[in-house]
């Protein structure tokens, strides 16, 4: 994705740091620029500071250092209730003593909106999340998915331009979650709102977002659209964290423009794309996606290096076959193949040769 110029930035984090106890930095150096209308997901392991970032944006935590800007204005000193940011909480935080309709009209009431206008808006937003008949119920009388929709509706009803969602689908089962992912994305696109979405489910991040920020250790490790993130991870943390990934360790032997020759620890040579390596002699961790590994000799490119492999295990998964191999001393090497009529089912114990396109195999930091 091309650089976003500060002029059309809607949300900006500039060199933001956060510490709760004065000893450890939970957020170390956060720089982030979001244009209007973007759906950005913060993805990262537990404790990596995602919620903290969201809370700083919403105003419930103050940044220890740095500047947070909304629509060009610094919001460091604006209290939460004046920021006009919609928020969906992980546990929904629907007010249990109010009905669904009262919950939804609450943000409108505090804005001193007239009764008829309030009712019209509540009805419209209820229809939008397809919960039209549920206005009179209490939150406790709704299923998890229904509560989730109401929480979403409540964050949208006062027409906030920026909506924050902290693992809103964490409590739902897989099927409902997938359905809601689609719904949230559809509604966000229709309304043109800007969304910051937090999750630690990578599939969710990949399917919903315009861009994904991968968090680890209080920093953004990579900020990129989903396909870039998956296909071109910039460091081994991202490669490991997103999707399934095979790694082989070795030393760079030589670099010729786009191709690096790497000598693996057991002496074999492979071709890679240099990403985080610059000169021969560096240690590297080579990353390759399971579905990009080829073992059918006819489909391999002429002249590429191949590796010997022994089949350890064959797992039938319906749509795909998952085969575990022992390659260059690593017996956790996975390959995935489509379940096509002409596909061979590799039997354990078979010796095969595997290879790949040099651009699919990325030499990253060790």
């Amino acid at each position: 994705m091309a650089d976003i110029h500060s002029s059309d930035a809607f949300v900006e984090f500039e060199r933001v740091q956060k510490s709760y106890d004065g000893e450890n930095l939970v957020v170390k150096d956060l720089n982030l620029v979001m244009p209007k209308g973007e759906f950005l997901t913060m993805l990262g392991p537990s404790g990596s500071g995602k919620t903290t970032c969201l809370m700083m944006l919403a105003g419930f935590e103050t940044a220890t250092h740095g500047d947070i800007r909304l629509d060009g204005e610094s919001i460091n000193n604006i209290p939460p209730h004046k920021r006009g940011i919609g928020m969906v909480f992980q546990n929904y935080a629907l007010f249990p003593h109010m009905t669904v309709a009262e919950n939804l009209s609450f943000p409108l009431e505090v804005r001193k909106m007239g009764k008829s206008e309030r009712e019209a808006k509540v009805k419209r937003v209820l229809d939008m999340v397809q919960m039209g008949e549920f206005g009179g119920r209490r939150p406790a009388q709704l299923s998890g998915g229904q509560q989730q929709r109401i929480a979403l509706a409540r964050a949208l009803v006062f027409e906030a331009e920026l909506v924050l969602m902290d693992e809103p689908l964490g409590a739902l089962d897989k099927q409902l979650r997938e359905h809601m992912q689609f719904e949230i994305k559809r509604i966000a696109d229709n309304l043109g709102i800007t969304v910051v979405y937090v999750t630690h489910d990578q599939t969710e991040a990949l399917t919903m977002s315009d861009r994904v920020a991968v968090f680890d250790d209080g920093r953004i490790q990579q900020l990129a659209p989903p396909d870039t993130l998956y296909e071109q991870p910039e460091n081994s943390f991202v490669a490991q964290f997103i999707g399934e990934n095979n790694t082989l360790e070795g030393v760079v032997k030589e670099i010729n423009g786009d191709v690096a020759l790497v000598r693996l620890d057991d002496g074999e040579l492979i071709d890679c794309k240099p990403v985080n390596v610059s000169k021969p002699g560096e240690r590297t961790r080579v990353s390759i996606r399971p579905e990009r590994v080829e073992y059918n000799k006819e489909r391999l490119q002429e002249g590429v290096h191949t590796l010997k492999a022994e089949v350890m295990e064959f797992i039938y998964m319906g749509d795909i076959f998952r085969t575990r191999l022992k390659v260059a001393g690593n017996d956790e090497f996975i390959i995935k193949t489509r379940n096509a009529p002409d596909q061979v089912r590799l039997q354990p114990g078979t010796q095969i040769e595997i290879g790949w396109l040099p651009q699919d195999c990325r030499a990253l930091d060790a």
């Binding site: 939460p80 928020m87 992980q90 609450f106 964050a155």
Partner: protein
């Protein structure tokens, strides 16, 4: 029915009807559960239920007249007090016979003091007559009426006979009438003279002061409970100890401490005088009145308000307040519209606890209440231990019990008892 096997009752594996074997299995379970709670059940029955039942019974029981003067009661049945004349000779004869037996059993003085509740002077009348009735001879004496009026003029008047007749049934509502400042008159219940009315005023005062105490506890306790629920654990534990500290001090010590604080030569007055806020000859009267009772009882009952409030507030997640603020509510709106309604069940539980405890409180009003700050319970205690009018004490107690149950019912209708939580 021809097809017995399919339409008959479902059978268990051993051939007995399923229903019966299920009932047997359940009965066994119930018996076992019952055996476990039997000691407690027995304990409660003997020490709690039975005394209360006995008390309720005493508030209407009135067998003493008909048991001590059985013949007199029968003879007096046809007498009409509205004629204004004393009963005839037969009644006096019966009285003499009854009294002779009663004197031997030494029960006549008890009857005297019982009737004294209704008619002043009855006690001495019976004691005096008891001494002299021994000299009467049932066989040879002719005019018992004369003999009795010789002992005391009162025997010739309508009043004493009317009282005996009124209280001759085995059961009476007299205690209850007394407890609501009424008495039995010739034309049914009537109000007592103004200067004898006391109990309604006391009931009213008890309810009013309990209400004031409950209110003070809510106002003082709410912020403390809020702090307890929202401070970091370490600080809130310390605060909790401070809240519980009064529980570990004797009630008497705490009440006496208030005496030291509040009396006219006490700490507060001394300080005020020293500061020049109050003149030395115009020291504030803060004890032995309603103010003293309210202050001391609020202090003593405060933990009962704070603890239920705290346990409810603890379950209110901070994300509710955050959600409210993110939607544009100010701190105050967020509190009032979102936090407070969710803490109401705690206030409800605390209020019931404090109100019901204070309505029956005895020691503190006794020590710091003086004349104007005593409760109905002090009066009940007086009748139990000093005047020995247990029937009246029982009637007052029964009314108090009824008032509490009624309030509980009203509370349930308005707030809903399932809205009351003692914990998460």
């Amino acid at each position: 029915m021809s097809d017995q096997t399919t339409s008959g009752p479902v059978l268990a594996a051993d051939g007995t009807p399923l229903k019966r074997s299920l009932a047997r299995a359940l009965r066994l379970q119930k018996m076992r559960a019952l055996a476990l709670i039997a000691p407690l059940l027995l304990f409660v029955l003997i020490t709690f239920i039975a005394p209360i039942a006995d008390m309720l019974f005493r508030s209407v029981e009135n067998q003493i007249v008909s048991e001590t003067l059985p013949q007199t009661v029968v003879a007096l049945a046809d007498w009409d007090p509205t004629t204004g004349e004393a009963p005839d000779e037969a009644v006096y004869r019966a009285l003499a016979a009854d009294l002779k037996v009663a004197v031997e059993d030494k029960t006549h003085t008890r009857l005297g003091s019982r009737l004294n509740y209704e008619l002043t002077g009855a006690s001495s009348l019976f004691r005096k007559s008891g001494r002299k009735v021994k000299r009467m001879d049932l066989e040879s004496d002719t005019s018992f009426k004369e003999a009795f009026t010789d002992i005391d003029r009162k025997w010739g008047e309508v009043a004493i006979w009317e009282t005996i007749q009124t209280y001759s049934p085995k059961y009476t509502n007299g205690y209850f009438l007394n407890a609501v400042d009424m008495r039995k008159g010739p034309d049914g219940p009537e109000a007592r003279p103004e200067n004898q009315q006391i109990y309604m005023m006391l009931f009213g005062r008890t309810l009013f002061m309990s209400l004031v105490i409950t209110m003070s506890c809510i106002i003082l306790g709410y912020p403390v409970a809020w702090l307890l629920a929202n401070l970091p654990t370490r600080t809130s534990n310390l605060l909790m100890i401070l809240v519980l500290l009064p529980f570990w001090t004797s009630l008497l010590v705490r009440t006496s401490a208030w005496k030291v604080m509040l009396q006219q030569q006490g700490v507060i007055n001394d300080t005020l005088v020293w500061l020049g806020l109050v003149a030395d000859d115009a020291r504030l009267v803060m004890i032995n009145n309603q103010f003293g009772t309210i202050v001391a009882m609020t202090h003593i009952l405060l933990p009962f308000m704070i603890l239920p409030m705290y346990s409810v507030m603890q379950t209110i997640q901070p994300s509710y307040l955050r959600a409210a603020k993110s939607m544009g509510a100010t701190n105050w709106t967020a509190f009032w519209r979102v936090y407070f309604p969710q803490s109401v069940p705690g206030i409800g539980a605390g209020s019931i606890l404090v109100f019901i405890l204070s309505i029956g409180y005895y020691i503190t009003p006794e020590i710091v209440g003086g004349n104007t700050g005593t409760f109905i319970s002090n009066r009940i205690a007086y009748h139990i231990s000093s005047s020995l009018n247990w029937g009246l004490a029982a009637a007052l107690g029964a009314i108090l019990l009824a008032v509490v149950l009624l309030l509980y019912y009203v509370y349930d209708k308005i707030v809903g008892i399932d809205n009351v939580k003692l914990g998460g």
